[in-house]
Amino acid sequence: MKDNTTTLHKPVKILDGIVMLIICIVICVALYVLGITKTFSNNTMRYMFKIFLYITMGTMWNLMSGFTGMTSLGQQVFIGIAGYSVAVMTSTYKMSMWMGLLVGAVIGVVFALILSFVLFRMRGMYFAVATWLIAEAVRLWFNSWPFVKQGAGMTVAVKQIPKVRELYIYALTLMIIALIVVYALLRTKTGLGLTAMRDDADASSSVGVNIFKSKLLCYLICSVFIALCGGLFALQKGSVLPSSSFGIDWTVAMVFIVILGGVGTMAGPILGGIIYVILSEFLAHFPGWSNIILGAIAILVIIFLPDGIIGTLQKKLNFEIFSQKRLSAPKKSLKQKADMAA
């Protein structure tokens, strides 16, 4: 088969290099300043807090599914584990929230490491459903584990409840680190190897990257950041419950954010996260309809915009925001992949 990607025009990379760096720094500094100087109201900061964390989670889910082809339906397990870590450390052991977050992240990584032995033997939908099974199994276990008060849930007991402004700063910092880590990772040889693997599982070995190690690295990074998100959410909410901390809604959100924004694009989850939070706040006025509408939107996007908003725009206007591709050929879209397979 001839290589048909070479015939495509080279996309114009915008927001790349120095200009991008300056714009990003300006935005980040502005967000910090607006938060610290209390220019934002508490309500706005509560919104922003959610947006930052959902962008982080979306970016992480995208790293796994969009860039490395590991579609997980069970990342909520890390939200739950970290949330419970915060609750247990603060209320059972009377330690600080920082200890709770740290323990949550460490347990998250260790758990991910153990799971990887099982999960990395699987591919595609086996992987997807196995991750879901594991999350459900952990939820059932927490539901009947006396140490975490079974199904009754626990409260987060910190001496000084963090102010909205502090949470805002933590979430913003976490998001910035997450974006930098993912961006940097994708521009390394490891990242390029992973992208190659997603596009063509057989050709990946020729890139000369140890796929197992690279996938593991991605998986561990995802679990740490999602665990930290879970810890912050628990701090903000003040309590944890098996049914909500390990709920499938977290995965629904991550999938929605990435599909809407654009699978396999850096900017996709950022846009998707913003839209998701605004939309879900709006849909809160219609109790019970939220997931129905989000689900319907996601299905329509998959059918009519399989590349998501950013992916479609990039293709139509032939540009790339935050191009993570230093060397690799243009990414094949889902449609092209399907054509190739047919």
């Binding site: 088969m1 001839k2 048909n4 054509d339 190739m340």
Partner: protein, 237 residues
């Protein structure tokens, strides 16, 4: 002169951006055995898939018995009496030999004839009758080809296309299968043979077409074509 059974006019077929068949035209008169030869990658198999409806042509027209069948799907074409024995037999490996054959009479128009056709196939290939209850996945390559041929015959075709039927088979098996193909032709079915084995194809056929780089570059009766002509067309020198 009567209407040819199959007429292919300027067909182009692509996989993505890759053009597998550039501009192919050929005619198959009724009752004939026509051989289509060409080197690996000349586009023979894609052309066969396109005629049978497995692949949509991007340009050109295909007429069968004078009717336009361009772009029809495979399941609509087979009921009109055009059947393809695909490359590599493609048996239903988790089904028994008999179930494979019965699948051939899936089109409603031929279901009534299922029993008779089954007898005919078993007469043609007695070994299949012995192995009727075996899974076709357990058969040898030659026997799988017989199942694939039998299955195609069950659809009661007027035109049957064989795509590289001899690929990977033992010489004695090939000889046997070719003898059966001649029998099938004698009973009134028009045959198109796609082959890489030029000698055998020329010996069997009444008409030869040569394909090169996605085009039919030479066609004529075998006795009128010199070895030199065929070689030139085959290798494109």
């Amino acid at each position: 002169m009567s209407e040819p059974m199959l007429k292919v006019e300027g067909v182009q077929a692509k996989y993505g951006d890759f053009i597998a068949v550039a501009d192919a035209s050929l005619e198959v008169p009724e009752g004939m055995i026509v051989s289509l030869i060409g080197s690996n990658g000349a586009g023979k198999s894609t052309l066969m898939d396109t005629i049978a409806g497995l692949h949509k042509p991007s340009q050109g027209k295909i007429y069968f018995k004078g009717e336009d069948i361009t772009g029809l799907s495979a399941d609509k074409i087979v009921v009109r009496g055009l059947s393809l024995v695909p490359q590599g037999s493609r048996c239903f490996i988790r089904m028994t030999v008999e179930d494979n054959l019965i699948m051939g009479s899936f089109p409603k128009v031929v279901r009534k004839k299922c029993k008779d056709s089954l007898e005919r196939v078993y007469e043609l290939f007695p070994v299949l009758k012995q192995k009727r209850n075996d899974l076709s996945g357990s058969l040898s390559g030659g026997q799988r080809q017989m199942v694939a041929i039998g299955r195609a015959l069950m659809t009661n075709p007027e035109l049957i296309l064989f795509d590289e039927i001899s690929l990977g088979l033992a010489p004695t098996t090939i000889k046997d299968i070719y003898a059966r193909i001649k029998e099938i032709n004698k009973s009134g079915t028009t045959v198109v043979l796609v082959e890489q084995d030029t000698q055998r194809a020329i010996k069997t056929a009444k008409l030869v077409d040569v394909m090169l780089k996605g085009k039919v570059v030479l066609s004529g009766k075998p006795e009128e074509l010199s070895d030199e002509d065929i070689k030139k067309a085959y290798f494109g020198i």
